[in-house]
Symmetry: C2
Subunit: 701 residues, 2 copies
Amino acid sequence: MNFEKLLRPQSVAVIGASTDSRKVGNNVLDNIIQGGFEGHIYPINPKVDKILGLKCYQSLTDIPEKVDLAVIVIKRDLVVPVLRECALGGVKAVIIITAGFGEIGEEGRKLQNDIIQIVRQNKMIMMGPNCLGLINPWHKLNASFGQGIGEPGSIGLISQSGALITAIQDMSVETRTGFSVMASLGNKASLDEVDFLRNLRYDDNTKVVAAYLEDISRGQDFMRVAERVSKTKPVVILKAGRTESGAKAASSHTGSLAGADSAYNSAFERTGVIRVESIEHLFDICTAFAYQPLPQGDRVAVVTNAGGPGIMMTDALEMAGLKMARLSDSVKEELMNYLPAAASAHNPVDVLGDAGGELYGKSMDILLESDSVDGLIVILTPQKMTDDVAIAEAIVAASKKYSKPILACFMGAKIVAEGIGLLRENKIPQYSIPERAAYAMREMVSYSNYKRRPLRVVERFAVNKIPVIKTIRSVLSKGFLEIGEIDAKAIMKAYNFNVPPGLLATNVEEAASFSAEIGFPVAMKISSPDILHKSDVGGVRIGMQNVAAVEDAFELMMMRVKRKMPHAEIRGVLLEKMILGGREVILGMKKDPQFGPVLMFGLGGIFVEVLKDVSFGLAPITSEECIKMIESTKSYKLLTGARGEKPYDILSIVENIQRMSQLVIDFPEISEIDINPLKVGYEGDGAYVVDARIVLEKEKV
Amino acid sequence: MNFEKLLRPQSVAVIGASTDSRKVGNNVLDNIIQGGFEGHIYPINPKVDKILGLKCYQSLTDIPEKVDLAVIVIKRDLVVPVLRECALGGVKAVIIITAGFGEIGEEGRKLQNDIIQIVRQNKMIMMGPNCLGLINPWHKLNASFGQGIGEPGSIGLISQSGALITAIQDMSVETRTGFSVMASLGNKASLDEVDFLRNLRYDDNTKVVAAYLEDISRGQDFMRVAERVSKTKPVVILKAGRTESGAKAASSHTGSLAGADSAYNSAFERTGVIRVESIEHLFDICTAFAYQPLPQGDRVAVVTNAGGPGIMMTDALEMAGLKMARLSDSVKEELMNYLPAAASAHNPVDVLGDAGGELYGKSMDILLESDSVDGLIVILTPQKMTDDVAIAEAIVAASKKYSKPILACFMGAKIVAEGIGLLRENKIPQYSIPERAAYAMREMVSYSNYKRRPLRVVERFAVNKIPVIKTIRSVLSKGFLEIGEIDAKAIMKAYNFNVPPGLLATNVEEAASFSAEIGFPVAMKISSPDILHKSDVGGVRIGMQNVAAVEDAFELMMMRVKRKMPHAEIRGVLLEKMILGGREVILGMKKDPQFGPVLMFGLGGIFVEVLKDVSFGLAPITSEECIKMIESTKSYKLLTGARGEKPYDILSIVENIQRMSQLVIDFPEISEIDINPLKVGYEGDGAYVVDARIVLEKEKV
């Protein structure tokens, strides 16, 4: 496998190796040597014989074997010819460190396209260009111009910023975080986050995948792969460019156009990807995932030797949505057998300032053995008699005995350095303040819940595609993109949405008989492809209660509309039964450039228009995801029977979102849908599409 | 001044000094000596002659001078007699480190009360009991059993948790944070946060006051003092026990009953106190306040040597509500004179990975000189050629030249250690990740805005107190606490709230003539102290359009109510003009045990009842604070003329809140007010109290 050659090559060529220690070409070679790489190393530079003690080759063809991995650090204009040589020489994995391609404009983009072509034609894989390189500490491979190789560990890091890798490397020396791989994606001309995700899924050294990303260019692929990976190991992503200014800065940095941030959120949510807000958060939770078992529930016990931090931890846990474990009387009694009288056997368990390793250890044992505790956080403040090392040892011992997660919060620095060192050596995640430990525990609980979720099943409804195909064809053939109410409702009907009974009357006699047929009250709307704002020309009447009223309204409407818009093509008047009562909600769909159809839900009127209280999901959507969408709006409570009202038919909203999802998946020609309002009755009464509008894609078909 | 003797004593006695190095009595004395205290030190212990090389005294009376400060570490049962000796000996400032008082139950509480009495009678000040002690690095005084004395600096820290002080001390050695004082409040039996705030206001070494608190026992005093201090120097508070579980843990720790968290928020908001969520936040922003000038606006420029962190910073600044400074063309041109072609002169300014101190320095100069930049954040990632020391030096130089705040974000650890060390030595706040720097800048901007706010002016309205006094007396004299609609409205009227015209009719003739007098439509409500739920007995009719309807309704109501509740005392029927139109809002007031009357505002109906969209403020309130209250609800937008509606009369809501505030300040007997609804007309149309209810205090009067 080519990826294996990138991650664990047996031989590496450095093309553009240099004797000048100020040059990247020297730096990379030096890093490979210093990292202790155990395979063959081939520096390539036609001008010298030896670099850093190694025999130097004129070109790839001079090397006596087929090289697994070529690292290209040669000057930009030589990259394409050198890559061709690699292809000829049968090299399958390449890292291009050299910069000056897609990121600098037209000229670079052209060269980058040449690179992509060579890579594709020769079935190679390529990381970069414009990247820092790749580090695999387990394989003693530092094929980068970063710093040291670092400690091997369980976090697989991919980053769209090379500088960030150096920073993280530097930060993680002291914390002994440990990585399974660090990959700098650069311009992502060939290998991107999706490729790495797909491959790190099978990398046994990688227990958690961490990523810094500025954009995800293959949204659909990403989701497919991320969903699979998440079921095996957590995927934690820091996606920059969240805000408008941030996105602008990102696009000027990478030249890529990222999708809407809400679409990223929906995509992450669906695929179980954990989104973090900062590098600190990224490592706080990756460390927990990498080195502790997952909790089986959300009940957390806390041991502390000081009251204040115990209160802070309690606040932090509750604010993170976790539960302080309620200790049974027997557990409390058992604790009091060991604790001094002034201590507290309530959770947080306060073992007091002079507690030693033994008391901490005993308390931890009792708590971890209890069925009502899913995870433990141990706080230590450096007090007069505090033996941080003994307490750290007790934590390490407990962690070996139990399969519940233990996080440490040793508050301090120098005085507790030895204890913290011991924790880190034994891979007990250590946090300097309660809030960060609580946050890590929260993410563990929520990922543990995600893993237990049943597989996503997208329901398919029996529908009739024919009328949809016909309508779309007919609209497009006329050169329109917008599908008005009548046709949109016909499409909805074909997908078994409830649409109020309606008929198009072309004369007053039809109006009379049709209205009697569909039943009163009746709404009347002029039907004309030329009239966009029906009300403005007197083309809308509602609440018609009988035949006579309908007849009057029909004739008046025809007269007035013709007077105001003499050249409009009038098809007739749509008569529609009015749906009385019910709560108005709005459903919508808009295509995101990366993640495809984004579905929207919100309550009608002020809730969407003024309070912007809407939620999003991605098609194809499951019923569970629809429920989550609905529940995540603030105004959701208004559907559940607040203030003594009967609850509304939430399941019918769910089904309508699912049908909308199916429609936009079946017809990628659709770029926008607006169902406004959907009138939702009480539980069991269903929901009606009162008005709808569909817009088609410009380029497609 | 006594406080001066506590903070900067010329002589210190350690009562209970011990030769046993495991004892606190030894530890404290040792700390005083090791700290380099330059005054006289008197160990007191009747059993020994010398401790730690110092002459030991039998008792206070043996000491040749009047001691400024006595630190009591003697065993608990001797504390009271020893304190009496101190009083006799003229000692005015005491720290009681010994524990076992208020925090352990009844017995301890009694002893603590004795202590309080002695302190009061002798006009002493006392810190503790059950505290860690006090450290003043500027005075070389470490009168605590904490760790080292630490570096002198500008942060004055007071903490209700002693363990936290040790932890913070330990953490701040490396960061060289620097403190002007560290005071452990312990049980706060005498000196509390209010005393320290009041005194640290005048302490020139203290540039910012930081506090960890679990409760504030003197809410009103706190506000009065905090407001004054905030106008001079920032006050930053971490208040634990925010959540229900946290408050429970806090009360079991300190035995104190904290007020509602929303009341704390209102109190902090009003007095300019900056509330933080964690120790990290506390120091992130205190460091900025202590060592950098305040920004004069919210426009931030960023210099970075890597794209990714620049994007993160942009996101973080925008999410913090700050603005990325927009650079003028001339500024950009000037930058491009120095920057390489591939660099970005847009904000964030990307000086590229190989930028040295000179390029950083030049860029900083240009940005700091620009009128469109209020503050600067400098990002550094350790790249191949990065000279962290030169860049740190450039930052230090810029910081000396300009009076705008500069924050640093050197991302890394070991490699950039020297640069970071230089920053810290020169008091440039340094943050490991962009988000924390952005957060600090945000708090600086918001405090700077607070300082520029005009002084709080609480308007007083001309009102008529007499009817209120009478009504309250009359209600209390009958043994009631609840004041029903009619009397409550009379009180409101006396305070010039708009109340719809209304009259109490006792017979059908009065009903007829009164209704004609006040005008239609009329609402009718039975008036009886015995009937709580008027609607249930047929005691409410609304929308009466003429005299005949009123007569019918009156007679029916009387008949039905008497049939259903034959023993009820019926006073008549309240006829009231109905206010049509307008938007319903709710005003309320409830007393908080610490901060007094908490005022509440929310939009009526679902907004308060279902969506819990309410805001709070404290009486006496200013009009600015009322506006802030109203604006801080999510549904506020519905008052401003959303969706083409005319805007509602927000100023009338403001005035109604102010009048309610004045009412509850004038009458502390009132414990609760509920104005529900207040009907608010369009701009200029005023607002009417449609229903109101007042509850009186149980104990008072």
